[in-house]
Symmetry: C2
């Protein structure tokens, strides 16, 4: 077999459930590691709560078929210049993804969930430990918005800050292009460029821009942006948590947005109509504890309404360009649940998980069915919650029953 066991495992995990995956699966993979978790799932040996999540995709398929699917995904990715990376890989952005483990990024999101792995074309994702700068906005951008996004992207990249966006029409594309052009300029700039190139060019110290796709890494969406996406892969990285061949279904854009927000230290909305999807990215970023900024525009422009709403409501700081941002972006706080002194360890949990925690008796151990009855929750929800509680050291399994840890 020409692929590593780890690659197969990561590809298999990415195919076994639609992101964002349920906490039980995240906790299961965290606990066992990708290869063992995948072996258990493919071998039909996953615990009930995990099995129920992966059932729609995995059920009825034998281990051989699942391994074959995964191997084909790895092969298609390789044909498209992409590799698989996951937790534990040296440059996996653990710190940046950490809040996704405990924060539900937006209301429509069923639960918090970091990606189990990512397909990646190109190099790295962001500058060292710092996140990038997410530059997002309307597809139907105005010439004004396109100009501002391109300048912002260019200024950020020129100063070593990775520009993260979604490769869409309008603002996204302008931001990516601005970043790419800025780095091209730097590369062509006098005698220093050869030296930089010999060090690996911008990739060594600076990934100009990262595009997060809502479809398979083998696809270009929108199709007209194939050349742009290829250029982003050369000058930075293109990433996706969807298996090759996945179509950019509507809901995937919202799910994808959490990765754009998470990979960035701050998110800037350049132009947004009142119902723009980029407002969802802004909300997600805020929920992840990241700074959100918006660019004002003419009050007569429908494409600035969303930005003005964000600023007026105090949900975004006003920025007019990179010079503003430099002074306002605060370094990321260390990634950890927001526990303050005096907080109980369960304060960071979502409602369902809290209820399950409350249902576990202070002494003795009980069955999942008993907990489901106590908490008045369906058994699969209880199982998912228990996996989370186990991960946080708040519950443990003993002889098939559950007790407080």
């Amino acid at each position: 077999m020409r692929h590593t066991r780890r690659e197969i495992a990561l590809a298999g995990l990415l195919r076994c459930a639609e992101p964002p995956v349920a906490p039980a699966v995240v906790a299961f993979v965290d606990a066992l590691g990708a290869e063992e978790a995948w072996a258990a799932i493919a071998g039909g040996r996953a615990p009930g709560e995990v099995a129920s999540v992966v059932q729609p995709r995995v059920g009825g398929l034998g281990r051989v078929e699942l391994e074959f699917q995964a191997a084909r995904d790895v092969a298609i990715a390789a044909e498209n210049g992409a590799v698989l990376v996951g937790p534990g890989d040296p440059d996996w952005p653990d710190e940046l993804f950490a809040p996704l483990e405990w924060v539900r990024p937006y209301e429509q999101c069923p639960h918090a969930a970091p990606p189990l792995a990512l397909y990646r074309r190109g190099r790295g994702w962001a500058t060292g430990d710092r996140g990038g700068l997410a530059v997002v906005g309307s597809r139907a951008a105005t010439p004004y918005g396109v100009r501002v996004a391109a300048e912002l992207g260019g200024d950020a990249a020129r100063l070593g800050r990775t520009v993260v966006s979604g490769a869409a029409y309008g603002i996204d594309a302008a931001a990516h292009r601005g970043a790419l052009h800025a780095v091209d300029d730097e590369m062509g700039d006098g005698g220093g460029s050869g030296e930089r190139r010999s060090e690996g060019g911008p990739a060594a110290g600076c990934v100009a821009t990262v595009a997060v796709l809502a479809c398979g890494i083998d696809r270009a969406y929108p199709a007209a942006h194939r050349a742009l996406i290829d250029a982003i892969a050369r000058g930075g990285a293109v990433i996706s948590e969807y298996p090759p061949g996945s179509v950019p279904a509507r809901h995937r854009f919202l799910v994808r947005n959490r990765l754009i927000a998470a990979l960035a230290e701050a998110t800037v909305v350049v132009e947004a109509g009142r119902r723009s999807g980029s407002l969802n990215t802004a909300t997600t970023a805020a929920n992840l504890g990241r700074q959100v900024f918006a660019v004002p525009g003419p009050v007569s422009s429908a494409m600035s309404v969303g930005c003005h709403d964000l600023i007026r409501e105090g949900r975004a700081g006003l920025v007019t360009g990179w010079p503003d941002l430099v002074g306002m972006i605060e370094p990321l706080a260390p990634a950890a649940p927001a526990h303050r002194p005096g907080d109980r360890p369960t304060d960071g949990l979502d409602l369902v998980t809290s209820r399950v925690h409350d249902a576990i008796p202070a002494r003795g151990a009980v069955s999942v069915d008993t907990l489901a009855g106590e908490a008045a929750l369906p058994v699969p929800d209880v199982m998912g919650a228990l996996a989370v509680l186990q991960t946080f050291g708040l519950a443990q399994r003993r002889d098939g029953l559950w007790c407080r840890a």
Copy 2:
């Protein structure tokens, strides 16, 4: 004599010192009333602290000359369709001017000071008890700013809110014009207008717009705005605290701005360069406890830099037009020094006045010279402070000496 004693007194007082006048003079006029205060000043019988303030303008002139000057001012005003109004007149905006009694509007302002009186062409100043809406901004406005200011002025006037501004080029003129056109439209609007007119037209319920001049009421500044200023006088009011013939000296614009801010419940900056005088109006409005808003614009526009600064720094709320404002303008708090329960009565005083208050012994009475020595302040400052303390009931005169009240 064809003028009333009160008119002569108000005109005389407005000529005797450059606004903003020292607290001692305000307190003196408050205490005695305009006519007695004027009689004392013109007769050379003003107390020392007041006399020293009015000396540069009044010194060396006899009562007859001063009365003649004042009568001439009243006559010139009348020729220009203006009357004199002052504290005690039924529609004097006591409540709106009240914060000027204790708040120093901006750093360059030597002291807090309401106007002693005002020359006024036209009718009223604002809608009932509510203040107007100040719409201010750059003289070098862009077409964008002019359009926004005209729409804002029009929408505000159409909904019965008086638009207050300074009759300058650019934003000021656009706001006035928008308000005037809106009321013209209403007047010409079907059968109802005749009835409204018979009730006194917009003047009865709604003064469309008020211009506050930084020169004499007989002058038009800028000269090109003579027709506009006449139209404002017909559709609202033009006011000035400067004697007829006064030139619009540079410092008078800053001093005038405090009246624009004071007459308005909220101030909106539509366009402002980084050093625009309208930022001074915004600061003044904030210092008077009034709400401040700013209109965003293209980040590429130098004329929006000041607005973006105000919003970014949290010194102004973002507004995109009247619909935003309707929801955001809070009714004026009752005009009173911001004394909270537990505050000492002296908490609202400026530093000099506080020091003089502290220097008055708890028992017994002392001379002004003693107080000056105790407080380490020049005698005129002590006299001014004593007048303020007397007004607030914190000090009283007894046999030529001062004691706590």
